[in-house]
């Protein structure tokens, strides 16, 4: 689930941080720059693991800030295909399930990858909600939010950042704002194997 990635970055340290010790200031800058952000093909950055080297400290003409070349390692959240992860149900809709890990919410299980055979029924607890039910040997096992759900990672994709469309009218922009916010990293999971699904089904 978690990997280390080593990165070299040219960092500009603003002058108001000059009174702090160098390591702290650089770590603070790296945190604000990388934490909780998705880097393509590397995953979601969880934490700065360590700083390996700091070079430079030049001040370029016309600029008040010093520039450092820093090598450091980041702890990245990057689930690999085939990994089994346990998560909580966030919402259930006609397209499938959406699971959440607390720090990462964009895990989708589309209908074809749900445990089969299954059927959906309107959720008695939430209005306009759909609850999915697995049929096995005559018994009905609903997927509800009471316990953790184990899923296997089917695919991890990084959709490209949508370009702004300047010529659209105001109406279209307001419609776009209502739709889901852009997710830079999407994990697709599957529940279609033994041992997957809510833990209560198997224990």
């Amino acid at each position: 689930m978690f990997f280390l990635s080593e990165i070299e970055h040219t960092l500009r340290l603003p002058p108001y941080l000059l009174n702090r010790p160098l390591n702290e200031a650089i770590k603070g800058e790296l945190d604000s720059l990388f934490l909780d952000k998705v880097i393509e093909k590397l995953g979601l950055c969880v934490s700065v693991y360590d700083i390996r080297s700091i070079d430079g400290g030049f001040i370029f003409p016309g600029d008040g800030a010093s520039t450092y070349t820093v090598r450091f390692r980041l702890v990245m959240f990057r689930p690999f295909v085939g990994e089994v992860i346990s998560a909580r149900l966030k919402e259930s809709s006609k397209d499938g399930l959406r699971l959440s890990l607390g720090f990462f919410d964009d895990i989708y299980v589309p209908v074809p990858l749900l445990a089969s055979p299954n059927h959906s029924e309107p959720d008695p607890e939430h209005k306009n909600g759909i609850r999915w039910v697995w049929e096995y040997e005559g018994e009905n096992y609903p997927i509800d939010g009471t316990d953790e759900i184990r899923f296997r990672v089917h695919n991890v994709s990084y959709p490209p950042v949508p370009l702004e469309q300047g010529k659209d009218s105001d109406e279209k922009e307001s419609e776009q704002k209502d739709s889901k916010p852009f997710a830079p990293m999407v994990v697709t999971g599957s529940l279609d194997a033994d041992g997957l699904g809510p833990i209560s089904w198997w224990v």
Binding site: F2, F3, L4, E6, E148, G195
Partner: protein, 191 residues
């Protein structure tokens, strides 16, 4: 008259040479001034080329959930009830909360080393060992999903494997109650 003419000629030549050299020096000075700027600019451009984040190593190592939890704890995540003083940001706290609910919260480095040693006789891939350490499957059904082609590779050893997991890796606190009795029973037989 002739001397005057010659000297005048000479003087004018000298003056001209002087002026020429003067301008040359002047031009040379201007040229060097701009050259330095160009060199500085070139250096800046070189540096700006590297300004973009450079990826050195895509995968410098896989981390188990326990190692990430240990890292966050070493920065003071667990002991701080107010969540303000420790040098751990809010997003890191979310990861900490998630990891506390997984079986990783009870593990130690020794346990994981011991588990990896015991796994050598089962011939498992590194990713599978990582998965098992993170998930702690407590029954054969759960092991089937994690290990590929379980039937062909592990035919009868699967029960030994599950038993080894239950012995070496500690259970999650919420699972501890039903496992404690069976755990104590096994300790007696081992001793």
């Amino acid at each position: 008259m002739l001397i005057l003419a010659i000297s005048y000629d000479l003087i004018s030549h000298i003056l001209l040479a002087f002026v020429k050299s003067g301008t040359l020096i002047f031009v040379g000075w201007i040229y060097s001034f701009y050259l330095k700027k160009l060199i500085a600019l070139g250096f800046l451009l070189e540096h700006f080329k590297k300004r973009v984040c450079l990826l050195l190593e895509h995968n410098a190592g896989a981390l188990t959930n326990f190692e990430v939890l240990d890292l966050l704890k070493s920065r003071g995540a667990g002991k701080d009830p107010t969540r303000v003083i420790a040098s751990v940001s809010a997003s890191e706290f979310k990861v900490f909360d998630y990891l506390e609910q997984t079986p990783a919260c009870n593990q130690t480095r020794d346990i994981i080393h011991k588990f990896v040693d015991e796994c050598k006789k089962f011939d498992l891939a590194k990713a599978e060992i990582l998965n098992v350490v993170n998930m702690r499957p407590s029954s054969a059904v759960e092991v089937y999903t994690i290990i590929e082609e379980c039937d062909t590779r592990m035919e009868e050893k699967i029960d030994d494997f599950v038993e080894m997991i239950l012995q070496v890796l500690p259970a999650h606190p919420s699972q501890a109650e039903p496992n404690e009795e069976s755990g104590e029973g096994k300790e007696e037989t081992v001793q």
